[in-house]
């Protein structure tokens, strides 16, 4: 990102629907609810929205990829919301951080004035989320699916196995990630695991394997639900009902640490971080890539009070995907914005001046820093 874009745009409205493991509602119904609530939260009406960005891809192996069934495209949403005068409409790939990045660019170039960015997920009630019907595969999957490994957690289990071998990490250390998620989820009214209470080490260590050495609690739970944000330029944001969350900077996976420089901050200025935890070991991977700790140290770094609310670098304060449910990073984006806006309620980190969010897999990821103060 060019530093001239620093704090030029902001999130001014945020919403999220309740999350349900299985829902009788359609993905369109939850998406429209999230959209209307985000627009209202920004103090706007539908007529103000002239930009839309979505991230429609359904991530499960059994996904139908059908518009209005398990995905909502930009075209679907523009039609469903009657956004007749939208001047900028697009979809990005499945990672929610990319929506924020695309919206910054659209707003900075004057392509539109108010962007609605929305991610909706649908957990099919009639089939297994990660089930493949065949081992016939094209593209990169032709080298994995014939060996019984789908696009889900297997490769992160392999990453974990090697990490444990290289760095002496234990599953007790990985429990810290899942345990932290469940602890923080208790302060998030929308979290699927909110009422389940804390996860004990004993329960974790005795849980059934999914992709050994990852167990049931190392994967997030597929859900049906949607979340949305409304973004605009810094100038327009001053009239918003809530304090804006300015976008200080962004960077992609090729050089994730660039996010500090373009945002005009150092690592130490990050007061709170939402790190993608669709699978628990990913948190270790990204903490090291950002340099919050050295290579091979994350399993010791991400433990205890340091990464909890009140600590020096609170992580996944909303419970992460492991505690909240699989919104594929949109929960992370929402929480990062809420922290910078000072609206995270019982989860609010004091002086959350710079709030970082990373969403994505190693080779495809976006990181965004929100700032409470446009400088």
């Amino acid at each position: 990102m060019d530093p001239t874009l620093r704090n030029r745009t902001a999130v001014v409205g945020v919403s999220q629907t309740p999350l349900e493991r299985r829902s009788a509602r359609s993905i369109g119904a939850v998406a429209v609810e999230a959209a209307l609530n985000a627009i209202a939260d920004a103090g706007l009406t539908r007529a103000d929205i002239d930009g839309y960005v979505g991230a429609p891809a359904a991530p499960g192996a059994s996904a139908l990829h059908a518009d209005g069934v398990d995905e909502v495209s930009a075209g679907f949403m523009v039609s469903a919301l009657g956004l007749k005068d939208a001047s900028w409409v697009t979809d990005v790939d499945g990672m929610a951080g990319g929506m924020v990045v695309a919206a910054v660019q659209a707003l900075a170039t004057g392509s539109c004035r108010y962007v609605l960015a929305l991610r909706a997920l649908y957990n099919p009630p009639d089939r297994k989320y990660s089930e493949s019907r065949t081992t016939l595969a094209a593209g990169p999957d032709q080298f994995t699916l014939p060996y019984g490994i789908g696009p889900g957690g297997g490769r992160f289990a392999q990453w974990l196995q090697r990490y444990m071998y290289d760095h002496g990490a234990s599953r007790q250390a990985l429990f810290e990630i899942a345990g932290l998620a469940r602890e923080h989820a208790q302060h998030n009214p929308l979290a699927i695991w909110r009422d389940a209470g804390a996860l004990t080490l004993d329960t974790y260590m005795n849980a059934r394997w999914i992709n050994e050495p990852m167990c049931l609690y190392d994967s997030d739970m597929p859900v049906t639900g949607a979340a949305a944000v409304v973004m605009t330029t810094a100038e327009r944001a001053t009239g918003s009902p809530h304090r804006p969350a300015y976008i200080a900077g962004y960077a992609n996976s090729a050089n994730p640490t660039a996010v500090f420089e373009v945002s005009g901050i150092t690592r130490r200025d990050v007061r709170v971080a939402q790190i993608y935890d669709g699978y628990a070991p990913m948190v270790w991977l990204w903490l090291e890539r950002f340099g919050f700790c050295g290579v091979g140290e994350a399993h010791q770094f991400a433990a205890g009070d340091r990464v909890r609310l009140g600590g020096e670098l609170p992580l996944n304060t909303f419970g992460g995907a492991l505690g909240e449910g699989r919104l594929h990073g949109m929960g992370h984006v929402r929480e990062a914005a809420l922290q910078a806006m000072g609206r995270a309620g019982p989860r609010q980190v004091r002086d959350a001046g710079h709030s970082l969010v990373q969403v994505g897999i190693p080779e495809r990821s976006w990181t965004v820093v929100f700032s409470a103060d446009p400088g």
Binding site: A61, K128, S130, E131, S132, R133, T134, T135, L136, A137, A138, G139, P140, Q142, F143, T144, L145, P146, Y147, G148, I149, G150, G154, A157, Q158, W159, L160, Q161, R162, Y165, R208, W209, I210, N211, E212, P213, M214
Partner: protein, 134 residues
């Protein structure tokens, strides 16, 4: 399903040969097969026959029944091929009990008929008695 970049890999496998494209300019062996060397961008690639030897880089044990033909628990490994550091491909471990799997164990290629004309390169521990490549 092979595409025009990957078809020679599967064709060679059907003949019980492990083969990958190698850049004629810088010597890099490419996996997955690509149309051009991503390192030096040279376009002249040559399919090279590999020794089929390697070591186990990592693995996981799959415990869910999600993919047809795979009965859990089963191992999905990543083998690092002897020819090049970091050259890693996905494999099951044949003739190898789950509890004997170790990172770093020496492996050799074998070929598994999958029906419909598809032969999948697979790996087994060196010295399991099964003839290499058979």
């Amino acid at each position: 399903m092979p595409d025009s970049d990957t078809a020679p890999y599967w064709t060679a496998a059907a003949q019980r040969i492990l083969s990958l494209p190698q850049c004629r300019a810088c010597g890099m062996i490419l996996f997955p097969p690509k149309a051009r060397c991503p390192d030096c961008l040279h376009e002249h690639l040559e399919w090279t026959v590999l020794s089929g030897r390697g070591t186990l880089y990592s693995y996981c044990v799959m415990h869910m029944r999600l993919i047809p033909g795979f009965e859990p628990p089963y191992v999905v490994g990543v083998v690092e091929l002897a020819e090049q550091a970091g050259l890693r491909i996905t494999t099951n471990l044949l003739h190898c009990a789950v509890e004997t799997v170790r990172i770093g164990m020496p492996l050799e290629v074998v070929f598994e008929e999958r029906g419909e004309g598809i032969t999948a390169p697979q790996f087994q521990p060196v010295g399991t008695g099964q003839a290499p490549g058979a």
